[in-house]
């Protein structure tokens, strides 16, 4: 049985804060934003991992590290049998066509001066896909695949709506025929009815192309719809990781419980499960011990100084909390 397509171990990415000359003189300790602080997970081929968390949890940074848009400070990113974190830009080139990204803002994710068709053509040309003769045909097929018309190739991004631009972004990502697709909040900037269209599009494409996906979002409802497995992040760490159905049926980490009870549900009103107060702590001065302890209703003394590790409380269900029980 082949191993996972993507295997991440202890990924760390910090962004150092600029220091003024005064700080240097005073020998103040250098500070950094601890965006991603030791993240590990696996994704099997063909599966979709939902990465969930609120702003500042590090999920976007994590996504960009996986795509090597940032270079991780520590840790390993195993794509099949190669550690992407060790490669330089040149070594990465062949892998770039195997993993692609769809981004959040439909208004800035496309070059406004380039016609849609020529943008797609450029991707094919740079990656030497197809022959010059058949590339335009491939462009037409890509557009059709995402629900647009071949005649749209001549238009510029400004002539399309937000939802259509996301479709173009998806077409661009698919042009290189990737195996892994990282979608970073692809529907958050869209209206609800358009969101649903794009989600269904992703669902169809995933099925027909056999894509492995990492779906990053702050919206648990959307993540539920698309994901096989879900990992919940808080302040740079994964606090819970389980198959989707299991996570939503039997959430174990207090933060997950809080997220679930905070969701404004269209269905019948859920019972209020966990109410948390306060705001997420700063990612620069991370709380000691468990990072969630300042807001956690289950906090005990141990939580303030001992960092909880991910424990497997049920098959495939990992939780990083001292107080969580099976």
């Amino acid at each position: 049985m082949p191993g996972p397509l993507l295997s991440v171990r202890n990924l760390v990415k910090h962004f150092p804060l600029p220091r003024s000359p005064l700080d240097v003189l005073r020998r103040a300790a250098p500070e950094a934003v601890h965006a991603v602080d030791g993240v590990s997970f696996d994704i099997a081929r063909g599966r979709t991992l939902g990465l969930v968390g609120e702003s500042g949890c590090g999920k976007s940074t994590l996504g960009r590290c996986l795509l090597r848009l940032y270079r991780p400070d520590e840790g390993e990113v195993w794509f099949e049998s190669v550690d992407l974190a060790r490669l330089d830009e040149h070594g990465l080139l062949p892998y770039r066509s195997r993993m692609q990204v769809v981004l959040q803002d439909p208004y800035s994710s496309l070059d406004p001066r380039q016609s849609v068709g020529s943008a797609l053509l450029e991707v094919l040309t740079v990656h030497r896909i197809g022959t010059p003769a058949d590339r335009w045909e491939r462009v037409a097929r890509l557009l059709a695949q995402v629900g647009l018309r071949p005649a749209d190739a001549r238009k510029h991004p400004g002539e399309f709506s937000g939802g259509q631009r996301q479709r173009i972004g998806i077409a661009r990502a698919l042009a290189v025929g990737p195996e892994l697709l990282v979608a970073d909040e692809p529907v958050s900037a869209l209206d609800v009815s358009i969101q649903a269209q794009i989600l269904d599009l992703l669902l169809d494409l995933r099925a027909s192309l056999g894509l492995t996906m990492i779906f990053i979002s702050h919206d648990l409802r959307v993540v539920r719809y698309l994901s096989d497995e879900v990992a919940v992040m808080y302040l740079g760490k994964i606090v819970e990781n389980a198959p989707a159905a299991e996570l939503f049926a039997r959430p174990r980490h207090p933060y997950t419980l809080a997220l679930l009870s905070a969701i404004p549900e269209v269905g019948e009103t859920p019972k209020a499960m966990v109410e948390i107060q306060g705001e997420p702590s700063s990612a620069v001065h991370v709380p000691s011990g468990c990072r969630f302890h300042p807001r956690c209703p289950w906090k005990v003394e141990r939580c303030t100084h001992e960092v909880p590790q991910l424990r497997e409380l049920a098959p495939g269900h990992w939780v990083a909390c001292h107080e969580a029980t099976a």
């Binding site: 795509l67 070059d111 406004p112 740079v126 400004g158 399309f160």
Partner: protein, 256 residues
Amino acid sequence: MLLVMIGASLLAPVLSSYNPVTQNLNTMLLPPSPSHWFGTDNYGRDVFTRVLYGSGIDLRIAVLALIFPFVFGAIAGAVAGYVGGWVDVVVMRAVDVFTAVPFLVLVIAIVAFLGPGETNILIAIGAVEWIVFARLVRGEVLRDKNLEYVAALRALGFSRWRIILRHLLPNAVPPAVVFLASDVVLVILTTSSLGFLGLGLRPPAPEWGLMISEGRTFIYTGWWAAAMPGFACMYAGIAFILLGDGLADVLRVRGQ
């Protein structure tokens, strides 16, 4: 408007039967009349003819003086903005050096050092003006490089150069081009100023600044000799600013 000017300068020899340079002391300082639309100057030369020929000279200088700074400045600015790091520091410190001294002063200094003449004017202006474009383009690039499409293209494995030249520059350049059009006005004025100060072209070249300078001495007796080239400068200025506005509209891509 501009087309009129260009046309006038190209067709000067046809439009006027007078020679712009030969002196004719019999016809000194005649006021504007049907035979001399702009009158004549103190050497008897037809002012209209001189203005026409002058337009050719000033236009030529304006264009040549700006091509180099525009191209060089744009690329320098784009690279500095995108790559950042020490490249950015070097470029920006160079910009700082040139900004420290007022434009005209610097140009005058360079021309005074190199000596008058058309080529030297071009060199002087080129050497100083590139920073303006570099700064403009760098600003646009700095802002654009954080847009999501740049991240997407990087994820697609596009090389840095491809991103800078084929994507960032075309987006950063239109504001620079608009600025270019109005910069022409500055160059024309600078050339004229240099001519006025005696540092530009040498007589008997019919350059407008020179004509104003020469005509200054007898402005009470023959005001037209100095005023006409002055009006011509104004006309050219307005023409180019309008051109800049039009360019802004033309360069806007559908949907923006």
